[in-house]
């Protein structure tokens, strides 16, 4: 029962995060969407670990890796935001489209 609740909550978080990541114009808000999705993933991992598969340490390590991914994503993401803003005073994803060239 607990696992079902937790997984439903996790999928809701992932859904909201996906909505945010797709709909937000701003680069930083987009990152919030990503973080929210990872939050859902974290919840699901913890749920499985504790209720489903009898608590192997590998799943804990996976949760740590998810958090490390968040940290890396944030550090590099914000560094990009700074670099882009410094160059063109823009922080909006649409205006980054032209960056491909």
């Amino acid at each position: 029962m607990t696992l079902t609740i937790v997984l439903l909550g996790a999928s809701a978080l992932i859904g909201i995060g996906l909505y945010g990541a797709l709909s937000q114009q701003s680069f930083v808000m987009l990152m919030m969407g990503l973080e929210l999705m990872l939050n859902g993933a974290l919840l699901a991992i913890m749920g499985f670990w504790s209720q489903g598969i009898g608590g192997p340490p590998e799943a804990q390590l996976l949760a740590i890796i998810v958090m490390a991914v968040m940290a890396v994503e944030m550090a590099i993401g914000f560094a990009l935001v700074v670099a882009v803003y410094r160059k063109r005073q823009a922080d909006v994803t649409e205006s980054l489209g032209t960056l491909k060239g």
């Binding site: 958090m67 490390a68 940290a71 890396v72 550090a75 700074v82």
Partner: protein, 114 residues
């Protein structure tokens, strides 16, 4: 379990205390001249809320990457005595790698106000 309960109880108690302390004692209301931000008699041109230029921004990026190492260090501390020299060597290597990043950042001057 207790942790969650204690946290919730603490917040509720603090909430109660703050309502007790901040109960409006003098309901004269706040007028526009009273609400203006304090500048010693001076006036601002704009709202204070702004795209604030946080001068240590590069440092914060180095910091969140470096801080991740804490996640690995806590479990390491628990098994340290059990694993002995191996644990010391592995964490020494890990911290050594990360220290390179700090040295690099220091050399690039990220620990100053930009």
């Amino acid at each position: 379990m207790t942790l969650v309960l204690v946290s919730a109880a603490s917040i509720v108690l603090a909430l109660g205390l703050s309502f007790l302390l901040m109960a409006p004692r003098h309901d004269a209301g706040t007028s526009a001249p009273m609400a203006a931000p304090f500048l010693g008699g001076g006036t601002p041109d704009t709202h204070a809320w702004q795209r604030f230029h946080f001068r240590a921004y590069t440092m914060t990026l180095v910091f969140i990457a470096f801080e991740m190492e804490m996640m690995f260090m806590y479990p390491w501390a628990v098994v340290f005595v059990e694993e002995g020299v191996k644990a010391l060597a592995e964490m020494g290597m890990f911290l050594g790698i990360l220290s390179v990043g700090i040295l690099y950042g220091w050399r690039e001057g990220v620990f100053r106000w930009q």
